[in-house]
């Protein structure tokens, strides 16, 4: 790293008026060609570039971002990190990701503030509890941590939770993954960008891809608002717009772009240490280090690229949050926003090759994009370098939708309105 971050460095620079800090990444101008072009400067695209350079020695790489890096879903998620998925491909992948998270601050020399304070799922019925037991037993057998908790144990971890039995939907127990938690989303984008840039990757902002150049079934480059750029390998990592980019290659995807909203409260002193989720109330909450309560829920439920959600969804998650923590009723919503998420028809991601030689897709992340960031980049880098997926992302191939080998985590099927 050209300029290491550390406490002594901070002190030294403080005494010198902070004049000598280097840019975290160069505002590169695009060259005419690269070995690899990555379309999309979010966490996934930047992580892919980093691992290509770091692990595979491929540094002649450009990341093309149409606006500012991390401005898409990387900057709009609720920062949750966990690996408590049920089906084997998801469980293995997300836990690998979590292990990468655990070393990421040190690897990138950038404090991404991974806070493994635990993610807790509340159960409001025995049936729900049993479903979680099923999931967590399965995970434990695969070496992923997880425990079932009694109401008393939950109350110890979340002292302010309303665990009284007199409410409409009382809590009967829950489950925790202690290694789960949160990480600072902006830092992830910036940390990967800085590290990739240091290894020679060009990060080009304000560069929108308007077309793909394909010759005889193979990718040869991209057309952008800053001109044509050639490369024999191109990866698409543009959550929300995967369909539009793939369309440029004549490829159809099993994806619908949906709105996912979230909001934060005004900052308050420490109130909630873990992440807590209630499927029954359709809400999950956590608290940032700055003190804001982050509240999220489900997608609004229809195709939209607007990145602006409807108010009733906010009413839903707020009433769910207050049902769990009645005392927060007097706190205020400070900001709310929405992301455009790639919802696939089986709820699991797509990571691998597209039916055009040299073209790859990292997309379809549904609700799981942020926590997947390190592993998504790692696997996509492998896939690009070897032109073959890794075991970890092999089952996330696009052609699983042709064979029917879909990975339906919720068993919900392929129609949005059946969910």
């Amino acid at each position: 790293m050209k300029q290491r971050y550390s406490f002594p460095a901070l002190v030294w620079n403080a005494l010198r008026g902070h004049r000598d800090w280097a840019p975290a990444w160069r505002k590169a101008q695009p060259r005419k060609n690269y070995d690899v072009i990555i379309i999309g400067g979010g966490g996934h695209g930047l992580a892919t570039a980093y691992y290509l350079a770091k692990i595979h020695g491929i540094t002649n790489v450009a990341v093309l971002e149409r606006a500012w890096i991390g401005g898409g879903n990387t900057g709009r998620n609720t920062t949750i990190v966990r690996s408590n998925y049920f089906l084997q491909p998801n469980s293995d992948f997300y836990d690998f990701s979590l292990r990468l998270w655990e070393g990421l601050t040190s690897e990138l020399n950038f404090n991404i503030m991974l806070s493994q304070r635990g993610v807790i799922n509340l159960c409001h019925s025995q049936a729900e509890l049993e479903t979680f037991a099923r999931r967590y037993n399965s995970n434990r057998q695969r070496g992923v941590d997880g425990e079932i908790l009694s109401v008393a144990e939950i109350k110890k971890l979340i002292p302010h939770l309303d665990t009284s039995p007199d409410v409409r939907l009382p809590i009967v127990g829950g489950a925790i993954q202690r290694r789960g938690g949160t990480a600072r989303h902006d830092a992830v984008a910036w940390g990967y960008a800085r590290a990739a840039d240091a290894l020679g990757v060009d990060i080009i902002e304000n560069c929108e891809v308007t077309g793909l150049h394909i010759d005889h079934g193979a990718i040869t480059g991209v057309e952008t608002t800053l001109g044509t750029i050639k490369a024999p390998k191109v990866a698409i990592a543009v959550a929300g717009h995967s369909t539009q980019l793939a369309e440029m290659a004549g490829v159809r995807l099993p994806i619908e772009t949906h709105l996912l909203q979230a909001m934060v409260s005004e900052p308050v002193k420490p109130f909630l240490d873990t992440m807590v989720s209630s499927a029954t109330h359709h809400v999950y909450l956590s608290q940032t280090d700055k003190g804001e309560l982050v509240v999220g829920g489900q997608i609004d439920g229809y195709n939209s690229f607007s990145q602006r959600g409807a108010f009733y969804r906010i009413e839903d998650i707020t009433s769910g949050a207050i049902a769990l923590f009645p005392q927060i009723a007097s706190l205020r919503m400070l900001r709310k926003w929405a992301g455009a998420v790639d919802m696939t028809m089986d709820g699991s991601p797509i990571s691998g090759k597209l039916p055009v030689h040299g073209l790859y897709l990292d997309g379809g992340w549904c609700y799981g994009g942020f926590k997947a960031t390190p592993a998504a980049g790692w696997c996509m880098a492998h896939t690009i370098a070897h032109d073959e997926p890794h075991d970890l992302n092999r089952q996330f191939s696009l052609d699983r939708f042709r064979s029917g080998r879909v990975i339906d985590e919720r068993g919900a099927g392929n129609s949005p309105w059946l969910h």
């Binding site: 995807l253 619908e256 229809y302 195709n303 939209s304 690229f305 607007s306 042709r402 392929n414």
Partner: protein
């Protein structure tokens, strides 16, 4: 959004449930796997005008065909699916 149900009049969107693009809903000849899986899983997902289905679940329970812009949420046509040839 306000969706104009032909039976019930303009009603708030949370009375309805989205049913996917109508283009993705066409019953197709499904003997070959590609056509079948196209129908089952692959989607147009347009960024722009979309013709889609909504069902008035918390109202008259009719299925509607709605022409809506997926960026601005402007709606320019609503009719019963039964009335659309």
């Amino acid at each position: 959004m306000l969706i104009n149900c032909p039976f019930c009049g303009p009603r708030a969107e949370n009375e309805f449930v989205f049913g996917g693009s109508s283009a993705d809903n066409c019953e197709v000849a499904t003997e070959n796997t590609t056509a079948l899986t196209d129908y089952l899983y692959f989607r147009n997902n347009p960024k722009g005008w979309n013709i889609e289905y909504w069902v008035h679940r918390h109202g008259c329970q009719s299925w509607l065909e709605v022409e809506r812009h997926t960026v601005t949420h402007e709606i320019r046509r609503t009719q019963l699916t039964k009335d659309h040839p």
